[in-house]
Amino acid sequence: MQTGALGERPDAAQHLVQLVALRAQAHEVGLELIDARHPVPEILHLVGDRQELPVQVVHVIILSVSWLPVGTVYGAHPLGADNVCYARPVTPREETIAVGPTRVQVLIGGQGDPLLVLHGAGGNRGWLRWMAKVAERHTVYAPTHPGFGRSDAADWMEGIDDLARFYLWFLDVMNLDRVHLLGHSIGGWTAAEMATMCPRAIDRLVLVAPTGLRPERGEILDIFFYPPDELFRHTVLDPATIPERETLFGRPPTPEEAEIALRNRETTARLTWKPYMFNPRLPHFLPRVTAPTLVVWGREDGIVPVECGEQYRRLLPHATLAVLERCGHLPLIERPDEFAALVTDFLGSPSA
């Protein structure tokens, strides 16, 4: 627990508490409470009943600040009151990190061994439910790729291998000698490339529905060929099952968000156009990877065939494949709790 953050920024913490409570009210979102495990001796303002009472904060995670989606609030009150929520210090912070001349936005939160999270073609969706759970045991670094979101452009990049070299450089800049590495879709491809380039830098590797290999059967869906609504139907098995659906997809994008979405697609096209979504040389380098690897796939993935998971498992020296039933291309948000548990267990298990 980063107990210092609240002490340094009591106003911000108070603001967060109020913000979340108001939004929860506005969106009629119930405040979900979980058991306290990490007492934090901070005095905060009690918000739920609008009284200012000094209480002991036990454990609250806020998944919502101004630049993040409104989400579920986890918390507990030592007295058992269920209408009370508290800010807690592990609310992620956003930093701008310069890697050479290229500045990227990075969400950093949690505590424990570092875990670098590389997002997919959809861009950095913020501090998600699964991240909050994993961040209880790990310090999560979730950068926004160059050319995505509000990170700087890097129009000189030609492929995912360039992005992989960029993130190895990023680790140098962050003084992270060895990290757990988790990537989804093109982020998974990037993670796999990094692991082949510098095996020593990767402790454990999690690949979630990664592109990067040419499917032996089937094809990777041409995501640039379909209108957004049709593409979404291929991406997610059943939107109704996504706990964060309201936050992530519940309203039309603002003009700024639409511009970011377009920018994300352009950069993805720049990096993956030909050969489309795979590197024919990657399978020849995967045997170099030393990290224990967890490959996660949705059985009903409509973007990258689940058979590619078997190919990765076969080519990587120390890989296991976990297939989630009734799940599409976005296990991280389609099955956040199950996914977070898989990741936490894998990263926390004793070394083989």
């Binding site: 060929f225 379909y226 209108p227 377009l262 096209a269």
Partner: protein, 376 residues
């Protein structure tokens, strides 16, 4: 004002209901509906019509190129230019145009255009286009690089034509260590360059800066004037004066002995306003192909989709001219006065317009319309 004859060489000999089953006639409509027997006859027919247009006195013959679509089975503008270079005698050969961004070998492109120019005795007008998105899909060329590749391909072709070889080219997208084409254009310093426009202000500005002839395709007069303003802006930057021979415009036109017959023939142009342009925006403007400015302009320029307009509205708005020769001439004069152009490009055959109708239109244009343009 100079008149140009143009046919897209369509292959519309299939049941329309079949085409309607697919998201678009482009890319998605299976080529199992392509008939080599029909295409064999069509090519001969379309080339005969080009020859007739040359003999009728058209100032130029416009040739274009598309791929994966029944709307245009002219799959090689340079090949057609090579054929017409031999079979025609006087008309300019307006290649409008070669799709530069999807080329992997600009040196070969420079050679092919030069060869057509040589065979034709220096009659080639060399148009360069960025292509619609369909062509990027066809070539699997990254649309994000489209504009960069267009400009670099153009630069290399120009260098092939104007700088003695051998030389080396190490660009962003093209790399050649020994460039020394043994085929150079007859026209010096090189064939005139033409550029079409539909929506991109950047292209208009660029064409103006370069001093190339600029031709908006099938837009309203209002949008054409706006694009010409962008063109003039570019020309001014380079200190160039814009004369009418730098500005052109493209419309659909057919004439016949009676107004009724002309109007009947003109209906064939409706196919190219809607059905052949139907499809997801991803096909026509894949991600990265259009700049933000071009996207905004396209929204405005096409605020009323051509596909939503009735035939009568299309005629009323000068997208289609279909009338007796004297009335057609009047319409052309009107277009000339509205836009101040020196070149009017006529898409003069479309869809299932038959050979006899097409030939009669060419003949009447030659007799009555082309002479009426002489003083403009």
């Amino acid at each position: 004002m100079k008149l140009y004859y143009f046919s897209e060489m369509p292959h519309h000999e299939y049941p329309d209901a079949e085409g309607d089953k697919y998201p678009s006639l482009r890319l998605a409509f299976p080529n199992t509906f392509f008939s080599p027997e029909i295409a064999r006859r069509n090519y001969q027919r379309y080339l005969d019509e080009y020859d007739a247009a040359d003999q009728a006195g058209f100032d130029g013959l416009m040739i274009n190129e598309h791929h994966s679509t029944p709307s245009c089975v002219n799959v090689s503008a340079n090949m057609t230019a090579g054929i017409l270079a031999r079979t025609t005698r006087r008309a300019k050969l307006l290649i409008l145009g070669n799709i530069l961004p999807i080329q992997d070998n600009p040196v070969q492109m420079a050679e092919q255009i030069a060869m057509a120019d040589l065979i034709s005795g220096g009659r080639v007008l060399s148009g360069f286009v960025r292509g619609v998105g369909v062509e990027s899909w066809w070539a699997n060329s990254n649309p994000v690089h489209n504009r960069e590749r267009f400009e670099e391909c153009h630069d290399l072709i120009l260098k092939c034509w104007t700088s003695p070889g051998p030389f080396r080219w190490e660009g962003r997208h093209y790399h050649f260590r020994h460039v020394n084409p043994w085929c150079l254009p007859l026209q010096k310093p090189h064939p005139p360059i033409w550029v079409p426009g539909t929506a991109s202000p950047e292209t208009a500005v660029w064409a103006g800066r370069m001093g190339y002839t600029y031709v908006p395709f099938l837009v309203s007069f209002e949008v054409a004037r706006e694009l010409f303003d962008f063109y003039r802006q570019g020309a001014a930057e380079a200190g160039r004066t814009v004369t009418p021979d730098k500005l052109g415009f493209l419309i659909c036109a057919v004439t016949a002995d009676t107004k009724a017959r002309a109007l009947e023939a003109g209906r064939h142009f409706v196919w190219r306003m809607g059905p052949t342009l139907r499809g997801p925006v991803e096909y026509f403007a894949p991600v990265g192909m259009r700049s933000r400015a071009a996207s905004r302009f396209a929204l405005r320029a096409r605020s009323v989709s051509l596909s939503k307009m009735s035939y009568e509205e299309l005629v009323e708005s000068h997208y289609i001219v279909a009338d007796t020769p004297d009335r057609v001439a009047e319409r052309f004069v009107h277009v000339h006065r509205e836009l101040g152009i020196g070149h009017l490009l006529l898409e003069a055959q479309e869809s299932r317009m038959d050979h006899a109708t097409t030939m009669r239109s060419i003949e009447l244009m030659g007799k009555s319309v082309i002479p009426a343009m002489a003083g403009l």
